[in-house]
């Protein structure tokens, strides 16, 4: 199960979060935990440099693109290696939508499109599509190229 996908700016403010099967009261802890990971490790990191952590049997793979921190949290079959796939699908789509590694402003300007992209990439904690070109077409309701 993909438990969470969370975007934050480089000050640690949450911009977009998705949780699946995580009770409301635990979400607060996750937010703080992820933001702390970002503060500890992501300042000065290269774009798309992957970081990994685990907490008990839950895995976290995260990175930075432009001004945006992106975290993925998973357990069971969504282990660190599958999360790399998920994170790659997300970051490549976000960069595609924003035309580059986004600043916070660009990310917020494209917020609606980013939400649509995420909706195609995973659905209630299950990975659905990974290819950025396909995701782009799907968010525009354009048929796939054969």
């Amino acid at each position: 199960m993909l438990m969470s996908v969370l975007f934050a700016n480089s000050s640690g403010n949450v911009l977009l979060e998705r949780f699946h099967s995580v009770p409301g009261e635990e979400r607060l802890h996750w937010r703080s935990f992820l933001v702390k990971l970002g503060t500890d490790n992501l300042n000065g990191a290269r774009d798309d440099e992957l970081f990994v952590a685990s907490h008990k049997s839950v895995y976290i793979v995260y990175t930075v693109i432009g001004d945006i921190w992106v975290f993925t949290v998973g357990k069971d079959e969504y282990d660190e290696l599958t999360l790399v796939e998920v994170l790659h699908a997300i970051t490549s789509s976000v960069k595609d939508i924003c035309k580059k590694a986004p600043s916070e402003r660009v990310f917020l300007d494209k917020y609606g499109k980013v939400c649509l992209g995420l909706d195609e990439i995973f659905s209630q904690g299950i990975l659905e599509h990974t290819d950025k070109d396909r995701v782009r077409r799907l968010t525009r309701l354009r048929p796939l190229v054969e």
């Binding site: 937010r31 703080s32 079959e77 609606g112 525009r140």
Partner: protein, 892 residues
Amino acid sequence: MALIQPAPKKDDDREDDSEYSPFYGIEKGAVLQEARVFNDPQLDARRCAQVITKLLYLINQGETFTKTEATEVFFAVTKLFQSKEVGLRRMVYLIIKEISPTSDEVIIVTSSLMKDMNSKTDLYRANAIRVLCGITDGSLLGQIERYLKQAVVDKNPVVSSAALVSGIHLLQSNPDIVKRWSNEVQEAVQSKASLVQFHALALLHQIRQNDRLAISKLVTSLTRGSVRSPLAQCLLIRYTSQVIKESATNTQTGDRPFYDYLEGCLRHKTEMVIFEAARAITELNGVTSRELTPAITVLQLFLSSSKPVLRFAAVRTLNKVVAMGHPLAVANCNIDMESLISDQNRSIATLAITTLLKTGNESSVDRLMKQITNFMSDIADEFKVVVVEAIRSLCLKFPQKYRTLMNFLSSILREEGGFDYKKAIVDSILILIKEIPEAKESGLVHLCEFIEDCEFTYLSTQILHLLGLEGPKTSDPSKYIRYIYNRVILENATVRASAVTALAKFGLTIDALRPRVLILLNRCLYDNDDEVRDRATLYLKTLGEDDSCKQFKESLFEELDVPLANLEASLQSYNASEVPFDLSLVSREIKPQQLAEKKAPSKKTGKDFGSKAANEALPLGTSAPDAYEKLLSSVPEFSSFGKLFKSSAPVELTEAETEYSVNAIKHVYLGHVIFQFNCTNTIAEQLLEKVSVVVDSGDAEEFDEVFSKHIESLPYNVPGQAFVAFRKPEGVCSAGKFCNTLKFRVNEVDPATGEKEDEGYEDEYQLEDLEVTAADYILKVGVSNFRNTWEALDPEFERVDEYGLGVRENLQEAVQAVVTILGMQPCEGTEVVASNARSHTSLLAGKFIGDIQVLVRLSFGIDAQKQVAMKLAVRAEDQSVSDAIHEIIASA
């Protein structure tokens, strides 16, 4: 979560950010107002999309809508289906899922979505499926099932995936419907689209997870064919490994089915697949080193990868291999792992260290500790706790290295850290002091230094308690006094009280120190806390008296060996009079009512319960055998029986909620057996007198009754113990069945005053039978290394035989039955049988009466007719014991 920081303030409206954010100053009420544009007759698609984006932003920020607000937005959104603008339509699909309307509202959009589901545009179909399946309930699902089944095999992969992923979600809520799609899903597994195959495989496995044959066929066909996506390949590996676990190894060739497939996956081009295969191999039951080697080799290569995720995955897998009992297999990777100690990623470094601590040999300990010291300062507490625990086990493994490890623990104890971390260190030192006698003195000194500057009351009191117990037994007890008395001067009341008690213990144990301790205790009389003053006064008084009441003094510091509830009941019924209160008359047995209350919901746990309840009833810090020994030693007639070998768990001899409640504990000695009957009178209007249990040993030929002790008086709800002792041949595991009758004199009493109302009459009450079996003569004592202990026992005394156990439901049941009959301790987790296994080996250890080590290897096999056969191999320090074990099984 361990790392809890104050939550970051979301959407922080800082000055410098304000110009950036298009959502600056966003406010729910205003957005809901804006949402009215959805109702405009002339829809402005662009503006509507903007409002939906704002709604999404609010939702993604954790904002919630009231039911009315959500309903209003939902109804407004449904109007947007009129628009033909595709961008807006896509947003509408998303916002409907996010608002998740209630079941009575869903009906409003159903027709629009059904229309889209039949649309010629594939993507309308895909989205309509996802939305409908996301918001609909079972009744509506029946209506659209036909479309969903078609969608599963749709030629457009997006539609197919939408239906399959929806199926995975729906399987939780409507399994019956989704299970009917299995033919279509099976077809989708063969799809050329890689993600469709991935989704179909996941769904098919979930649908058929209880059908072993189907899963086995699925795995067989797919491992031969081609699986397109690495994600699907990972699933397949996982399912394959499950099939392997459930199938037996080919006994002739020793080959494991599908092993070749797993090994082949180690050469896959995708790292995800390689790791999945390596993990599957390392987790195989009874994996051999030949099977492990290729997987370990691959993992070793990844240890030096430039990608942190791969290093993490590799070291995590190796850590697991070690944890599963194959430290030698990982030894080749030690050098690579040592370089990971300095890895920037602390998760990787911690995993590397804990793995190394488990695989390292004695000679590498010093080097390892040097590296860890540098590392400890810059990791978080939660990682430190893991390292401390690993060091504790290392020290127990190499006790000769205690000096290095103890020094390390004491040095980290001086550093900054939170409670959990400090507690882990203190606990480790306490365990090492207990397990390694040589480490005691240095450990105590380290702890003394720690409490000089300890901010945690709990830890200080725990350490002071230990100092009081162990300090007086050391070579130079006086040196601890200063540390303890410092606490009296400098600490809070709780710690001061503990320190006073610790001081008094020194005074009591060591005559030479007593005068000086008395001086110190005198100073505590002016403490401003009641408890501290009370303790000081009590100890001064008792220590000041002459040695004639030494026993009384000692008892001051012992834990109370009576259940507090019983003490309370006795104290309440005690009337201040000439006769002083006698603690020894308070019952030591837990009230059967309490047992019964706890027992009610735990029928399933069965036998284990009794012992657990008995343990719970015992005072803190006293183990069950200790408490029983104390109780039995209070009866002079038992003093000649020698050392108590084993006490059984309580066996109930009455039904729950009967007027008299009786349970029995069997105490086994070398040449005697004592039955302890715990009796409780549950009728408030009765007082029972001269309560005894008459035991008929007609069916127990080797037992001769030698003594019986009755209960003088058994008032309502105060438990009492009657005893019956038997002589039996020494060292022989005599078995027998005993019929029991409770005999007593009943007096009617006034429940209010407790006064007798009549003369009373004799009565008796039939109890259940009690059996003494072979298992009563075997102590459950595990061994740390079964193999070594087995090898060390003389093969000459090994006895092997085969037995048929008849038809059993599964192997687990057979294993459980044999373990229960033998009453031995299963080792290395071998009492658990993999589900559906065809064969299994269990290792048991125990001490036979007379302190004779005995080990048992049980090999089970089950055939298609569920007939179970068992090979029993026994080794013991005495041949007669090996034979006795076989007799137990043969006669069971």
